[in-house]
């Protein structure tokens, strides 16, 4: 049982192969730089924000939608917290609450726009919202960046910046094991919840139904509009979570910080097996997709690759990863057909 499940997982995730190959290549070419515990922890840290955003994006993609506002929304959350801190509020719970509330509200507006106005596709509403939220983030911060260091919110900053199980060389402050980044532990917790949510709850399954065949969902009495509204609200909430993590990770709030987030999240989901036509995608696939992206960036940085080379390599790897997946699916279908004989 467990074994077959593992096998299934492996089969389903052709990208895991791509990830493994990539790691292997980097390990061989840069054993001294890449193949270090500390570096692997770095990769996890670097993937965290993308993972959180991608989890919400995944739900939108499963419903055959998209949420282009996640990047701006994440930034808006951080900026909200930044402005509050500037005005002297340092209660971490209050800050987290307000940050999440703002992002969740923005997500809810996305969903409402889509479903109540009967917009044809969330691309429009979320692209519109992306601009609106970006503008808001700039307005509230006065287009200035706000630094969090030494503002008395170290507890909050620990979420994004702290590590567990850090060990030091005896009697020094020299780090032996840099610890597991708490942000990644958070990601794992969130992803386990998502996994259960998507696979085992009624609402989770309804998300797949709405994406796979909206007409069937409607005829089966699934309240598609509510499900969609929920999905975009959830996506907003997850963007907020990412915003909270970035408080500690970036130690600053800047209205322009989110420009690359949307595409990174989409790439993680798609590379991880989700599809624009909806009904497909798993959270673990998304994790692998996000890690794949993080590993490429990390490896190229370690190799000292320039911007331009990085663009070319990242582009190629994205295409390659998906190609491997498509190829593996075809092989599998062929094998099934042969077995049917």
């Amino acid at each position: 049982m467990k074994n077959t499940k593992m096998k299934e997982l492996l089969q389903k995730l052709g990208t895991l192969v791509a990830l493994a190959i990539l790691v292997l290549i980097f390990c061989i070419t840069m054993p001294d730089k890449f193949m270090k515990v500390g570096n692997f922890m770095n990769i996890l840290k670097q993937a965290s924000i993308n993972c959180l955003i991608a989890s919400g994006m995944l739900c939108a993609l499963i419903t055959a939608g998209i949420d282009l506002s996640v990047g701006s929304n994440c930034v808006l959350c951080t900026c909200t917290i930044g402005v509050m801190v500037q005005s002297g509020i340092t209660n971490p719970f209050l800050l987290v609450l307000c940050g999440l509330a703002v992002s969740t509200l923005a997500g809810f507006i996305n969903g409402t726009l889509l479903t109540r106005l009967d917009l044809p596709h969330p691309f429009v509403s979320t692209m519109g919202m992306k601009n609106v939220l970006w503008g808001l983030a700039l307005v509230i911060t006065g287009s200035k960046s706000i630094a969090f260091t030494n503002t008395g919110i170290d507890g909050l900053m620990w979420i994004g910046g702290g590590s567990l199980f850090t060990t030091y060389y005896e009697g020094t402050t020299k780090v032996k094991f840099p610890g597991i980044p708490f942000s990644f532990i958070l990601v794992i917790i969130v992803f386990i919840i998502f996994d259960i949510f998507l696979r085992k709850t009624a609402l989770g399954r309804q998300i797949y139904c709405v994406g796979g065949n909206p007409e069937a969902a409607r005829l089966s009495g699934i309240p598609s509009k509510n499900v969609l509204t929920f999905v975009y609200t959830l996506s907003g909430f997850m963007a907020g979570m990412a915003g909270i993590v970035s408080v500690g990770r970036l130690a600053s709030a800047n209205g322009n910080a989110g420009s690359t987030y949307d595409n990174d999240a989409i790439a993680a989901c798609i590379v991880g097996g989700a599809s624009f036509t909806g009904g497909k995608g798993t959270i673990w696939g998304t994790l692998i997709g996000a890690l794949l992206m993080a590993v490429i960036r990390n490896g190229l940085n370690l190799a000292g690759a320039k911007n331009d080379v990085q663009y070319i390599v990242i582009g190629s790897v994205i295409i390659l990863a998906v190609t491997i997946d498509v190829f593996r699916n075809k092989m599998e279908a062929k094998a099934r057909k042969m077995a049917a004989q």
Binding site: N42, K45, S145, A147, N150, Y168, V175, L250, N301
Partner: protein, 316 residues
């Protein structure tokens, strides 16, 4: 369309350009300012300076800028619009000098004075350039860091967007400082001008060169904050990070004794103020210097408080 000749050639002395009409009174003077973007702290200071000058001189100042420094076409459009909407002088901080030259030619042709701020346009017939060379400014920052860390130090550079002119110039300045002092540059990575990108880049640099990096030279303050994050979470404390832009948030970190030890401030407010001043002079056909140098300041723990107070005062 190049080089349209005026019918009545004005006294074409070195630096001033005149129009055929009589000198307008300051009340009607309209100065259009097209900056690289408005959505950032640095350009916010420039904007504030421009507006302050406008108020002080009693002229109408419009400040616009595209949403991002990479939006070259957006900026060209803005220049066209401002010329089209009518202005007596136009000030530009070009996202791409070549592109701006193309768009500003119409102003030159129409006899409208063209001034550059922060980054030179370099168009033939340009009235004035107010700013500092990014190369020199970065050089100052680099030199300061090397003074602190010693010439046997090793440095890394985290740059902005490759292909971006400003980034290229700051890179040149930093490198110049390092080669002069014989400081080895271990690596150069892009942080895409974002804190997120810079944090990742610095984490990776620390991984690649453990215990070797003494100096981190950054192309802006957000980048410096990112580098600081990475160092802190890696437990690195003996490192000198230099930012660029002189943003208040960065200066506060410097004063707090964080790893960001300095930021190169180009006096954006001053630049903004002076360029509008120069523009008004040009409109009034008064002589204007071809290059107006804004002073560069390396803001450190020593002069940081004064700098901040100054910023505060300017806002008020």
């Amino acid at each position: 369309a190049c080089g349209g000749k005026k019918t009545e050639a004005p006294a074409d002395t070195e630096n001033k350009t005149g129009t055929e009409t009589e000198t307008p009174t300051t009340g009607d003077v309209k100065v259009a300012v097209v900056l690289k973007t408005l959505a950032s702290e640095y350009w916010g200071y420039v904007e504030a300076g421009c507006k302050a000058a406008g108020d002080d001189l009693g002229v109408d100042v419009v400040v616009v800028g595209p949403g991002a420094e990479s939006d070259i076409e957006g900026q060209v459009s803005m220049i066209e619009q401002q010329i089209g909407a009518g202005c007596d002088a136009i000030v530009c901080a070009p996202n791409d000098a070549g592109a701006a030259q193309g768009a500003l030619q119409a102003a030159i042709d129409a006899g409208i004075p063209v001034l550059a701020v922060d980054t030179n346009v370099g168009i033939a017939g340009q009235t004035s350039f107010v700013g500092t060379s990014n190369v020199d400014a970065a050089y100052e920052g680099g030199k300061w860091a090397i003074e602190q860390a010693g010439t046997d130090a090793k440095a890394v550079i985290i740059y902005g967007q490759e292909g971006d002119n400003t980034s290229n110039m700051r890179m040149e300045g930093y490198e110049k400082a390092c080669t002069e002092a014989g400081v080895e540059v271990l690596a150069k990575l892009s942080g895409n001008n974002l804190t997120d990108g810079a944090t990742k880049a610095m984490e990776d640099l620390l991984s690649a060169y453990p215990d070797q990096i003494d100096i981190v030279l950054c192309h802006n303050d957000d980048t410096a904050i990112g580098a600081m994050n990475a160092c802190k979470s890696a437990g690195v404390s003996d490192i000198t990070i230099v930012g660029f832009d002189g943003n208040a948030s960065a200066v506060k970190l410097i004063l707090d004794g964080e790893l960001v030890k300095a930021t190169v401030a180009q006096q954006p407010y001053e630049m903004g103020y002076q360029v509008v001043e120069a523009a008004v002079k040009a409109v009034k056909l008064e002589p204007v210097d071809e290059v107006i140098n804004a002073p560069v300041q390396v803001v450190t723990a020593e002069n940081g408080q004064a700098y901040l107070d100054n910023l505060e005062a300017m806002k008020g």
